[in-house]
């Protein structure tokens, strides 16, 4: 289906996308994850043909799209600010793409009607889009992008402009809509929880390249490096200098300055230190929050390291506790 190869693009002199490549299969939903300013939106605009890459190519079924202008690509893009046309009402916004395809008016009416029904906004057809709430705008934008039946759907932080409660509600709805459409989807977000809930595969964009791609589980179990682990919020990242006991571990690469250990909060065990693991810590409880079933506790060791752990019971602030991780639970990462 879609192949993106060696995309290079600078922004104000500095490389933004630095030889980025990935592929997308039929019907696959991928989430492109990255911090804000990492070039996610630019990448979507390049794929859509709205911006030109300085080098690299976008292929569809093996055909280079360099000569295909944006309006002939048939890729739907839903903008972060939705970009609804303020001078058109809801109906005309959704019908815009169909009119560009010169479909007969009766057919347009049928398709737009179906779309309005699917977003439960049948009575909104004649409403000016400027009078819609954020959630309604989001639905109309999605309906507009889907109405002209694009061969690829791209969504740029579709829930980014909404408040938390609405986001959770709409994530479910969006997941259903995307699954039902059977279209390949590129979904851009900076929120990994949103991405985990939606994607078949995640791509992590950092420093202008895809640093890692894989299923949520793969990423979760084997983050490619410390940055990915930190970005996904997988747990405590401890450099080897910070370890109280620098014994060399068998079966692990030789620790050096570039090595970082990932200590996941739910693998933490409280109790006396054990001789068979170097990951022994002792610290004061800073904070303890009930997370449902377990508690998220923050510790500070005498060396000043802050550790986040999960405990089965409530810890009292200021209390001193001991905690350790077993060697087999710890992951060694490149920083």
């Amino acid at each position: 289906m879609l192949s993106v190869r060696d995309i290079y693009k600078t922004y104000e002199g500095a490389p933004l996308l630095n030889g980025l490549s990935f592929d997308l299969a039929q019907g696959e939903i991928i989430c492109l994850l990255g911090t804000s300013g990492s070039g996610k939106s630019t990448l979507l605009r390049i794929i859509a043909g709205l911006e030109e890459a300085e080098s690299g190519a976008v292929y569809w079924d093996g055909v280079d799209l360099a000569q295909t202008p944006a309006h002939k690509r048939g890729f739907g893009l839903m903008f972060q600010d939705y970009a609804l046309f303020p001078h058109r009402n809801v109906y005309d916004n959704i019908a815009f793409g169909l009119r560009m395809q010169k479909r007969p008016e009766a057919e347009i009416e049928k398709i737009v009607g179906e779309r309005l029904k699917s977003i439960r906004m049948e009575n909104f057809a004649k409403r000016p889009v400027t009078e819609l709430s954020g959630g309604e705008q989001q639905r109309v934008a999605l309906a507009r992008a889907l109405a002209s039946d694009p061969r690829l759907l791209m969504l740029d932080e579709p829930l980014g402009a909404l408040d938390q409660g609405l986001r959770e509600e709409l994530t479910q709805e969006l997941r259903q809509t995307l699954r039902d459409s059977h279209k390949p989807v590129i979904y851009v977000t900076h929120d990994y929880q949103e991405a985990f809930g939606l994607a078949d595969r995640l791509l992590i964009l950092h420093d202008g390249v895809i640093v890692q791609g894989g299923s949520p589980q793969e990423l979760f179990e084997n983050p490619a490096n410390a940055w990915v682990a930190g970005f996904l919020g997988l747990g405590n990242l401890i450099s080897s200098n910070d370890l109280p006991n620098d014994r060399i571990l068998s079966g692990q690469p030789e620790p050096n300055d570039e090595t970082v250990w990932l200590l996941r909060p739910f693998d933490a065990r409280t109790g006396d230190s054990r001789a068979d693991t170097p990951f022994n810590f002792e610290g004061d409880v800073l904070d303890c929050i009930y997370m449902g079933e377990r508690y998220r506790t923050k510790l500070r060791t005498p060396q000043g390291i802050i550790l986040s752990i999960e405990t089965p019971s409530l810890c009292v602030t200021g209390e001193q506790i001991k905690v350790y991780w077993q060697v087999e639970d710890v992951l060694c990462l490149k920083s």
Partner: protein
């Protein structure tokens, strides 16, 4: 409590009384006088004093030239707005500044500038004459419709660039992108999305340009010659050359009616239509022209803009430093080349001509008038904005009272003054003393528009805090209002000063032959033969231009960002 409210009502009334009295005497009285003169004369004479063609002909020509001028201005202004809103090119900022200069120039300066470019003694003719060894100027573009149109385009293009350009650069670029993404070609996206969203600002700019072209006086009088009479010029002719005040008055009424109509339309078109939906949070970035089409567009636009918008003023200044013909009284001595003579002559007392008035006298007069105008308009403006501020819910009704003078043309004002004060014993021989009054009326709406937002920006709490700490109201004004208003007051003073310095319409009615202002003197020198007269007119125009440009540069510097008078 009620006593305090009563007191504040009295205070408000007191505040209102001074500016209102000024307007009643010097604006509404002349206006009423025009109406009375027209209707009493026409009724008593049974509408036989004039032929309809005396009205319809100038009206027709005014509409015709204003429409043509507006269309031409849009033809240049819209692509120019696109150029400045979208493209980055070498010298962009500098060109942008150069292009705003015409708008602030006094009409006489524009007339003089076009004269040095296209006139019989202008660069174009001088160049062609020396190139082909001709003995007489080959082209005569002055006194033609094209000269009027060119000058109007020169004058008003920057309005289009400013108004349309700013909404284009603030347009959310995702909107046309979304259209393309949905299958619209770039041209279709422009037609379906960009253009409709720009339409309100294009409409506003069009009406604004039309209004300026419709009420153009100095440009038409000086560049159009006798055969082209707009309403404004015809009012002047009827009043000053034929002494037919009733017809002049009738023309004034027609003029006023049209001006008000267009102003109402402008006000309507200014209502925001889509809220913030079409506006980007940050203005879209500029890009460098890519591809041969875009490059050609940038090159052609920059060339055309330089030719139309910059050459006239450059030509004025350079021509004022060059002498090309033997000056009168110095027969035989043909000094061609660079000279400072015209500038020296401004300060010399050479009395040879019948109408001769030393230029330095005109400069002195203008300085005095501008000084008085500056103080009078700003003082009245300050009192008015406090009155508007205090009157609360009544202010929407009272504010237009102050803004109406903006709708009446300076020529109408001059005519009204002539009718009311022209024959009065009080002003006999001192008629020109009314010049600063007329200039203040012209400047007052702009002064109010400058001061009002500044005053509204002062938090009430600040004043209350000062009062609660024991400051008397006048002390609170000095300690709180004045420092905050300082910039706005400085801008007002400069506005009033430069307006007065360049004002031509009202002055042409009021100034005495022996006591001209700078623009009147330039007008007279330009219409007289002789290289010295011509050179002096150019020297004075150049100086006036420098003062006006300097004034507006200072205004731009000290004005707070986001405040715009137009």
């Amino acid at each position: 409590m009620t006593r305090m409210m009563k007191r504040s009502i009295w205070q408000t009334l007191l505040l209102w009384s001074l500016p209102l009295a000024f307007l009643l005497v010097f604006f509404y009285q002349p206006l009423v006088a025009i109406f009375r003169l027209v209707f009493s004369t026409q009724f008593s004479q049974g509408w036989k004093l004039f032929r309809w063609s005396q009205i319809t002909k100038p009206l027709g020509f005014t509409l015709y030239q204003a429409t043509l001028s507006t269309i031409l201005t849009l033809i240049l202004g819209l692509p120019a707005a696109y150029l400045f809103a979208c493209f980055q090119f070498a010298g962009r900022k500098f060109l942008r500044v150069l292009i705003t200069i015409p708008f602030i120039l006094p009409t006489v300066v524009v007339a003089a500038a076009f004269n040095t470019l296209l006139g019989t003694r202008g660069w174009l003719n001088l160049g062609l004459m020396s190139l082909f060894n001709l003995s007489s100027p080959p082209i005569n573009m002055l006194n033609s419709l094209s000269a009027i149109l060119l000058a109007h385009v020169f004058y008003n293009t920057s309005i289009v660039i400013q108004m349309v350009g700013s909404s284009l650069s603030r347009l959310n670029q995702n909107l046309p992108s979304a259209a393309q993404n949905l299958g619209a070609s770039p041209w279709r996206a422009f037609k379906e999305v960009t253009l409709p969203l720009l339409m309100p600002s294009i409409l506003s700019a069009t009406l604004m340009v039309f209004l300026f072209d419709f009420s153009s006086f100095g440009v038409v009088l000086m560049l159009g010659g006798p055969q082209f009479s707009t309403l404004e010029v015809e009012i002047y002719n009827q009043a000053m050359n034929r002494f037919n005040l009733p017809v002049a008055g009738l023309l004034s009424i027609v003029q006023l009616a049209f001006t008000l109509l267009v102003s109402v339309l402008i006000n309507r078109s200014n209502q925001p239509r889509y809220g913030n939906a079409a506006i980007a949070s940050e203005s879209s970035g500029l890009r460098i022209a890519k591809g041969s089409w875009e490059k050609a567009f940038v090159i052609i636009m920059v060339t055309v803009l330089l030719l139309l918008m910059v050459t006239p003023t450059v030509s004025l200044v350079t021509r004022s430093f060059f002498s090309f013909e033997a000056a009168r009284g110095e027969r035989g001595e043909l000094n061609t080349g660079f000279t400072l003579r015209y500038y020296h002559e401004l300060f010399e007392n050479r009395e040879q001509s019948l109408f001769y008035v030393p230029p330095v006298l005109a400069i002195r007069n203008s300085m005095i008038y501008a000084g008085i105008t500056m103080l009078l308009a700003t003082t009245l403006g300050l009192i008015s904005v406090y009155a508007i501020q205090k009157s609360g819910s009544l202010s929407p009704f009272l504010e237009p009272l102050f803004m109406l003078p903006l709708g009446a043309s300076a020529v109408t004002l001059g005519l009204g003054f002539l009718i009311v004060f022209g024959s009065s014993v009080l002003t006999q021989g001192r008629f020109q003393a009314l010049i600063p009054v007329a200039h203040s009326l012209v400047a007052l709406p702009l002064v109010i528009r400058t001061l009002l937002p500044a005053l509204r920006g002062i938090p009430v709490n600040l004043r209350l805090a000062a009062t609660s700490m024991g400051a008397s109201p006048s002390r609170a004004f000095r300690e709180v209002d004045l420092p905050i208003l300082f910039r706005a007051i400085a801008v007002s003073l400069l506005f009033a000063f430069t307006i007065s310095l360049g004002e031509f319409g009202a002055s042409s009615f009021l100034s005495n032959t022996a006591m001209p202002t700078i623009p009147i003197a330039i007008f007279r020198y330009l219409s007289q033969p002789g290289a010295l007269n011509y050179g002096q007119a150019l020297a004075m125009s150049s100086l006036l231009m420098v003062v006006c440009v300097a004034g507006s540069v200072i205004i731009e510097r000290i004005r707070l960002p986001g405040e715009e008078v137009f």
